[in-house]
Symmetry: C2
Subunit: 337 residues, 2 copies
């Protein structure tokens, strides 16, 4: 089993997992793996893909048979394993624990090779409902501190073309979320307001970085974007926990996600990237001051070591220009150009 | 001029620079640039490369002529510009300033296409002396809060093969260094000791992650390595500021760097990566509790958005195994196998 190890300076947890397949790619020769044929996520291959944890489908369908709309299965190459004890322990001055957690795969549609903007709003709504269900179910396991949803889209970042996303339950709070929480708490002590609520008011008022506003959420390119065309989706009404969104909010978010992914896909020459759902940690780490949101980075760029080593980013595309470019692409699409 | 913008949640400064050449690569088509021929960093092309800021060379040589060992010139595509006022200002709730700073290029040897492990110890010592000189000189400009040295080696991360490194003077403390400082201060308040001093004692005692120990520094693969074969070099005697190292320490560090880069180059199938010098910030941000060090990440890996979005890394190579692999490569080389 892999280990979770804590960096003693910056308190960052890292998974050290010598059993991973990526290992082959690192040491000694890098090779591109090929997509398996036939696709195990297509209908008719349910048992190859894996026994389902939960599924949405036609009424009365049997588990692991056809007729599903969205299926959740265990990931075949999990970065965290559900079995076993965490066993947190010291090693000299260092801290580690077993890499216990959950790593599930959401097969988002029976249709092979569709981008999110090509799915129907109803289908995206089903995916989001399944994300919510997994968030609510996994938190019953008291070992878990954080549930994360990760969607890698396009070729560069994933082996399987069939639309899918990852659900991870972690026994620790990842550094990225923890930093946001520290920022939220600091701002809240200073101003008695949520920093994300302030950001969304500011973006609505200024407009120049806005992509879309619906009744429930806004989509925009953030002021200090690290990456070209970085996009955030924020709920307009303060809510720390994605697990608590209403059916109306899910429906509205699905429509906005479809539109935003469409703007990104039709406006940019590259078609891969990542989408991550940030939501409040669980148990005693839950923070009512937090504000769940989605961050999209179109393209998992090759980043120079400078940015890794310093946490300091150089972005050649101002977010205002990115917003205008994405809006133009949308306009052209609406006009059928 | 570019802008420095602060993320209002996590206090991360980002450079937004629409004048950068990388822009072409992002939007709309990615293209690999080709190395210019002849190489402007080779002897005989001094004025094409740029007027020198400082140089080490044969006694009595004229500036911008031949006979140099190491030359420092302004970067042709600076991410920060020396001219102009910082003009820090609000934009609604956001904070920004002009991207004022220094961006210099150190041409590390007259010889084209040499890796660091192929340079003589004397030549590496000269490079480190020039880094130190730039650190001491740039801090005279009171606008600057941080000097960073960055060396990208190998093909993947740099346009020019000719050995060179970057010296950056920033008007802000980059998030990566700031996080380390917060960690150092927290640990110091808890234990009245430096966390880096504790780490180096621990690594020397355990040995299983050690690469090299000299009279002045140790090189090892850190306990919670984010990347396969990540390597740190720490001075054995507490010193916050690289600018204050002695001539003896520079000489010793040059020998260790040559040996470590040799281990990395001969043991791994990939030959690119980054080396970053972390040192205490300047002016009122200087911290005597800090401990300067070097971080080497062999290979600027293509990282999935998950890691960007969460600050949570999966590393398939345990640092103990990386250390053993690098040691074996060194042994084989010493034995002439």
């Amino acid at each position: 089993m892999g280990e979770l190890r804590r960096d003693p300076v910056v308190n960052r947890w890292v998974i050290i997992d010598p059993e991973r397949a990526e290992r082959e790619a690192v040491f000694p020769i890098e090779e591109e793996a090929e997509e398996p044929i036939p696709c195990p996520f297509c209908p008719g291959h349910e048992l190859e893909a894996g026994k389902e944890i939960v599924a949405l489908g036609e009424p009365g369908r049997a588990p692991n048979a056809g007729g599903w709309w969205v299926r959740v299965i265990p990931d075949r190459r999990p970065i965290l394993r559900i079995e076993g004890q965490l066993d947190p322990r010291p090693e000299g001055m260092f801290d580690l624990m077993n890499a216990v957690g959950a790593h599930e795969l959401v097969v988002e549609t029976p249709e092979h090779d569709k981008h999110w903007h090509e799915l129907s709003e109803l289908q995206l709504e089903r995916v989001l409902k399944v994300w919510q269900e997994r968030s609510l179910d996994l938190r019953k396991d008291e070992r878990f501190r954080q549930v994360l949803m990760v969607k890698n889209y396009g070729q560069a970042t994933t082996l399987f073309r069939h639309p899918h996303s990852h659900v991870l339950a972690l026994p620790i709070v990842p550094k990225g979320v923890d930093e946001e929480i520290q920022g939220v708490l600091h701002y809240s002590r200073l101003k008695e307001r949520c920093v994300y609520c302030d950001i969304l008011r500011e973006e609505i008022r200024r407009g120049k970085r806005m992509l879309l506003e619906s009744s429930e959420v806004i989509a925009f390119t953030p002021f200090a974007s690290r990456f070209p065309f970085e996009t955030w989706i924020l709920p307009k009404f303060h809510l720390p926990d994605f697990g608590r969104i209403t059916g109306e909010e899910v429906k509205d978010l699905a429509a906005v996600l479809k539109a935003v992914m469409g703007m990104i896909q039709t406006s940019l020459a590259f078609s891969s990237g990542s989408l991550i759902l940030h939501t409040s940690p669980l148990q005693e780490y839950h923070r009512p001051e937090y504000h769940w949101h989605i961050e999209i980075v179109p393209k998992a760029s090759k980043v120079a070591g400078f940015e890794w080593g310093t946490g300091f980013f150089v972005n050649p595309v101002p977010p205002e220009e990115a917003a205008a470019w994405l809006q133009e692409g949308r306009q052209a699409r609406l006009e059928g150009l």
